[in-house]
C-alpha cells in the first residue's frame, strides 16, 4: 500500500484539509484516540504539516499500558514476587511501567517464578497446557482489539479443564471513555479520529452517540499516513457541513458491523463493570471482568489479591492528564528532564503507544521550539 504514502497524494489531501480548516475559521482540535495513530502521525512527519494546515492533533487515552492504573501493575508484581512456581506472561511494555513497588522488570520473582514476554495470550495458554504443575498467569491489558484473544484463552482453558491458567485482567472499553472525555469537556475536542482496529471488533455503531448527543464529527481511520489524512479530511468536511456522523475511512480492512464473532466471545466470557482508569477515574461500564462462570480464571481471587484502594502515580507524573488530552507531554516538568525513555516515571514514557515516548522520540523539532 505504498500509494497511501505517495507524497503527491498526501500533499493533495493536506491542501484539502487546509482549505476546510480555513472554512471552520479557527484551528480545529482533533483527538486521535489511538496511540498507534499518534505513532503513525509522528513517525511520518505529518504532525507539523497538519499544524501548518491549521489542524491541531491531540492524543487521547488509547494506550492500554498507560490507562491501566498502578494498583493493577502492583498486583501483577505482587503475584510474581509473592508466589512460587508462577509464570507471569504479558506484553513487553507492561513490564517496564514504574510503580511505587518498582516495575515487573525490576521485581525479584519468588522461587521458581518468572516473567515471560509474549506476543499472543495463546503462548501463555500453551505454557499452561505443557506444564500443568506451573501456575501460568496472563497479565492482559487491552482494548476491544485484544480482549477477544484473551477471552478465547479463558474459554479454551475452561473447556480443557486447565486449572493452572488464569488472567489478571486490565480490559478497557473505548466508547465509555470517549463519553467521559466529552462530558468533562476540558479537552475541547472538535472531532475524533477513531481507532481502526478497535473498530474492527466493535464496528461503527458504538460511536454514533458522539455525533448524535454531542454533535461531534468523527471518522474511523487506518494506519497509513494516507488513511489518517482521509479521516481528518472527512471530519473537517462533516464540521463544515454541520453534519456530524461516524465515517468509515478504513473500509478495505473493516466493515461498519465490526466482528460479531469476536463480540459474542467477549460477551460470553466477560461482563462490564465501572472501572477506574488512570487519569480519567471511574467510568461507568468501561471495563470488563469475568462472568461468574469464568470467575475462577481471574488471577485476583486465585492469588488472594485484595482490591487496593490506594492507587497513586509517581510524584509529578502527569500521564493521567496527557491521557485526557488536557496537557501535552511537553507541558510536564519531568518530560525529557527527569522522565526519559531509559528512566521513565510514568507509563506514557514507557509504552510504544504512550504520547510522552512518541513526542520524545519523534517530536524533536517541536521540543526545540517550545
Amino acid at each position: 500500500m505504498k500509494e497511501l504514502r505517495n507524497p503527491a497524494a498526501l500533499r493533495s489531501l493536506l491542501s484539502d484539509i487546509e482549505e476546510k480548516s480555513k472554512k471552520i475559521g479557527r484551528a480545529p482540535r482533533l483527538m486521535e484516540v489511538c496511540g498507534t495513530h499518534t505513532m503513525a502521525l509522528f513517525k511520518s512527519g505529518l504532525t507539523p504539516l497538519l499544524a501548518e494546515a491549521g489542524v491541531e492533533m491531540v492524543s487521547g487515552p488509547g494506550c492500554p499500558v498507560c490507562i491501566t492504573p498502578n494498583a493493577i501493575h502492583e498486583a501483577a508484581i505482587a503475584i510474581v514476587t509473592g508466589t512460587e512456581g508462577v509464570t507471569l506472561a504479558t506484553f513487553g511494555d507492561m513490564t517496564r511501567v514504574p510503580t511505587r513497588k518498582g516495575s515487573l522488570q525490576t521485581a525479584v520473582p519468588a522461587r521458581d517464578s518468572r516473567m515471560r514476554i509474549v506476543y499472543s495470550p495463546e503462548e501463555a495458554l500453551n505454557e499452561a497446557r505443557r506444564d500443568p504443575a506451573r501456575k501460568v498467569v496472563f497479565y492482559g491489558a487491552g482494548f476491544e482489539t485484544t480482549i477477544p484473544a484473551i477471552a478465547y484463552t479463558v474459554r479454551q482453558a475452561a473447556a480443557e479443564g486447565l486449572r493452572n491458567y488464569s488472567v489478571l485482567p486490565a480490559l478497557w472499553l473505548v466508547p465509555p471513555a470517549l463519553r467521559a472525555i466529552l462530558e468533562a469537556g476540558e479537552a475541547a475536542v472538535d472531532g475524533f479520529i477513531y481507532p481502526g482496529h478497535v473498530s474492527a471488533v466493535i464496528g461503527a455503531e458504538p460511536y454514533e452517540f458522539v455525533a448524535r448527543e454531542f454533535g461531534v464529527p468523527g471518522a474511523i481511520a487506518g494506519f497509513e499516513p494516507g488513511d489518517i489524512l482521509l479521516a481528518i479530511r472527512s471530519v473537517l468536511e462533516q464540521a463544515v457541513e454541520g453534519k456530524p456522523r461516524v465515517a468509515l475511512e478504513y473500509s478495505r480492512a473493516i466493515g461498519r458491523e465490526g466482528n460479531p464473532v469476536a463480540r459474542a466471545l467477549m460477551d460470553e466470557v466477560l461482563e462490564p463493570f465501572d472501572a477506574s482508569w488512570r487519569g480519567l477515574g471511574v467510568i461507568p461500564a468501561s471495563g470488563l471482568r469475568f462472568r461468574k462462570e469464568f470467575a475462577a480464571f481471574g488471577a485476583g481471587p486465585r492469588f488472594g489479591l485484595k482490591e487496593s484502594g490506594d492507587d497513586r502515580d509517581l510524584a509529578g507524573c502527569r500521564c493521567g492528564e496527557v491521557l485526557r488530552g488536557v496537557v501535552r507531554p511537553e507541558g510536564c516538568r519531568l518530560f525529557g528532564t527527569k522522565c526519559l525513555p531509559d528512566s521513565p516515571l510514568g507509563p506514557c514514557m514507557v509504552s510504544y503507544e504512550g504520547a510522552c515516548l512518541i513526542h520524545f522520540k519523534y517530536g524533536g523539532e517541536r521540543r526545540a521550539r517550545s
Partner: protein
C-alpha cells in the same frame, strides 16, 4: 493501542490453525475469530489472532482514489 498487520493466509490446517505470510516469513495465526476466512484471504492480525478479513474490492478502490489524488496534485503543481 492496537498495532495489527495485514497478512495473507497461505495455509489452514485441519484443526483450523492458519499460517500467514508476513514480510517474507511465515507466522501462525489463530483464525477462531474469523471462521469465514479462506486460504488466499488477507487478514488483519493482532496478538496472534486474525480479527478481520480484508475486502479486496475496497482495497482496489482505495488504491484508485490515491492514484487520482496523486495525479491531481501532479497536474496542479
Amino acid at each position: 493501542m492496537c498495532l495489527a498487520v495485514p497478512a495473507k493466509i497461505t495455509h489452514i490446517d485441519k484443526s483450523g490453525q492458519g499460517t500467514a505470510g508476513y514480510m517474507g516469513s511465515e507466522v501462525k495465526v489463530n483464525l477462531a475469530l474469523v471462521p469465514q476466512a479462506r486460504r488466499g484471504d488477507w487478514v488483519i492480525i493482532h496478538a496472534g489472532f486474525a480479527i478481520s478479513v480484508m475486502d479486496a474490492k475496497e482495497a482496489r478502490e482505495t488504491l484508485r482514489l490515491f492514484k487520482e489524488l496523486a495525479a491531481a496534485q501532479d497536474e496542479g503543481a
